[in-house]
Amino acid sequence: MRKPNMLIGFALLVFVCFSFGASFSMAADTVKVGIVLPLTGPQAKFGEIEKISFDMALDEINAAGGIQGKTLELIIEDDTGRPEVGRSVVEKLITKDKVVMIGGGYSSSVTYAVAGVCQQNRMPFLVNTGSADKITASGWDYIFRLNPPVSEYASAIESLLGQVIKPKSIAILHENSLFGTKGANSFAKRCKKSGYKVALKQGYEHGGIDFKPVLIRVKQLNPDIIYMVSYIMDASLLMKQSKELKLTPKMFIGGAAGFTLPEFVQNAGVASEKVISATLWHQVLPYPGAMDYYDKFVARFKKPTEYHGAEAYAACYVIADVLDRAPSFTNIDIKKALSETDIMTIFGPVRFVSYGKMKNQNRLPTYVVQWIDGKLELVWPARLATKKLEYPVDWLKTWGY
């Protein structure tokens, strides 16, 4: 008689588990927007910087009167960096929390899966970081993207290469992820077009800690440039191990992501010095409020911020602007308001346009930054630079050998 009782109990438990909680609903004087970010797992660092930037912007927007007299409420959910969790998170936001639109989206894989759900449910989704091209190149009309696609991340690097460094050969290292693979492939394609020889294009496993075998191969090939598309720990380790191997190309270049975070200089130490990276934003850019946001962030959290934070902060303002203009909070009105967006943010001007295969994509220039004396300085394009690009670099001297 033991098992049957248990079975009844279990069946009831399942029922109770899934039916309670359905009755919680918030007062009607808030406008709810769901934000999907990785708050735990390997990408948590990026998620955290974006979350606190969202919260900062939210406080300011609500202090200034909110949305059409209502309070803006952000429901920030953890996708743990996994596509299927991202999917259940966004389904919960849509069906249970009844949000009016979705924001966030950090890693490309999760963002892509979430975007699929949003398009299917006709739920407007403003992507602010997930950068794989196909997110806005799939013809989905409910998906809008604030940041440039990954294939355009390196455009400033390319002009710098062409005008200053003029390399002959390039080695490309990348993490085996949607972001890493796509970034490396499109950079390799452009290099070939510019006539630079791609001596090596090599992926490595996510979470790897020993890069010496691949770096030794790079050293034998002796390329002018090493281009790396990496997240945070791998970026630091690649530079540290290059230093240990005395690997000295003309320049080390990072393809954004891990190379611009404050943690990069903390982890890599002196090995981070003089490394340049593509970036989408820097606080000195002539956009209204950019420096202000940076100062406020530093004052409040006692650490510097970078482009991911700026994307989130700007995205929150875009969301507020869109909802303010929407005649009603139905998906069709919000989608229409999104497509009519034309505002200036700290991240640059935001307008969603369609070009080539891209649909509802914001077009922005990219920049090059360099770590000089432990600080991230804007070095390219030259007319906006805060410091002159340090090139050529005597790496052994920089590293203190």
């Binding site: 033991r2 079975l7 009844i8 588990c17 899934f18 919680f24 849509i94 894989s109």
Partner: protein
């Protein structure tokens, strides 16, 4: 009609009527995922619990099933629903190869070989870009927007899997599996072709896990190697579902699947948004502690140690009276 039949009837009615009563996509999604884990957990249990071959590589079969369905759809244009059948079959083929290599080994060596096997398959899927699209992953558009059909197909799959294993364990094959678990050499000396029956157990396990993988492709509509060949989220999770529910019990993996999926989501969403925010910040930790608790105090799992749980609850009831 005895209590046992009534219990099954109640459970049957609850499961059959669930999507008709609860309309929220979110809760339906959770139950669908739990049902999928019932299939994976039960097939893992057939191999590990009943035949004594503890696999750390069930992601091999899950991933093969998912990729078979995905590739057939994107390259050949066959509906991913047909892919479910082909996914199971492809996993069996892979199971033969895995069995040929790994079944020569016993105990921890078999476990380690399957562990390595899972990683090998993940690397193949990552690097064979022309076939699998590598890390870009495969995305299809779901056939149905409503979850009801997914729910019932998952339910049918879970029921079939559990029921077939239940029937199987009463046949001669079942007893052969058990004898191999208890003492392979003794079984061999009694004239049981242990190699054959170990392979059969592996093939059945691979078939159902592959079907679950293909179902995942159908339902989630997005896969990449990190997701479906994940050591952490598939292979280890399959073991946890089995252990938490109860190894070598028919209903153990079913209970384990619902408990694992439920607990994970309850903590991640901080009691569906009703609890304090910090709960969701420590969800990974709480989840880990729970698993440790079960393994330490309920070593036979929830179903295996049910009398113990019942006694404990009963005693609390006594003392408060």
């Amino acid at each position: 009609m005895n209590t046992k039949n009534i219990a099954f009837l109640v459970a049957g009615v609850v499961f059959l009527s669930f999507p008709l009563v609860i309309h929220s996509d979110y809760y339906q999604h959770l139950v669908i995922i739990a049902l999928m884990w019932v299939v994976i957990g039960s097939s893992w249990n057939l191999l590990a619990g009943y035949t004594g071959l503890v696999s750390f590589g069930h992601a091999i079969f899950f991933g093969t099933g998912a990729y078979t369905a995905g590739i057939l759809f994107t390259k050949v244009g066959i509906s991913a629903w047909w892919g479910m059948m082909f996914g199971g079959i492809a996993s069996m083929v892979i199971g033969l190869i895995v069995g040929w290599v790994c079944l020569r080994l016993r105990g921890p060596y078999f476990a380690l070989a399957t562990l390595a096997g899972g990683e090998i398959f993940r690397l193949i899927a990552t690097n064979w870009e022309s076939l699998t699209e590598g890390m870009v992953g495969i995305l299809i558009i779901q056939t149905f927007k409503s979850k009801i059909l997914y729910y019932y197909s998952a339910l049918a799959l879970a029921f079939l899997c559990v029921y077939i294993i239940h029937l199987l364990m009463k046949t001669k094959w079942g007893y052969y599996f058990l004898s191999i678990r208890e003492d392979q050499d003794a079984a061999e000396s009694l004239g049981i072709n242990t190699t054959l029956y170990k392979n059969l157990s592996l093939l059945m396990s691979a078939f159902f896990t592959g079907m679950a993988g293909a179902f995942y492709m159908n339902y989630m509509a997005f896969i990449d190697p990190e997701v479906v060949f994940s050591l952490h989220h598939i292979s280890i999770m399959a073991i946890l579902v089995g252990i938490v529910g109860g190894v070598a019990t028919i209903l153990g993996p079913t209970v384990g699947a619902f408990v694992m999926v439920g607990v994970q989501e309850i903590f991640r969403s901080a009691f569906f948004g009703a609890g304090p925010k910090w709960v969701s910040q420590v969800h990974a930790l709480v989840f880990g502690l729970l698993v440790i608790f079960v393994i330490m105090f309920l070593a036979k799992g929830i179903v295996g140690d049910w009398p113990k749980i019942r006694r404990a609850v009963f005693r609390i009831g006594e003392s408060t009276r």
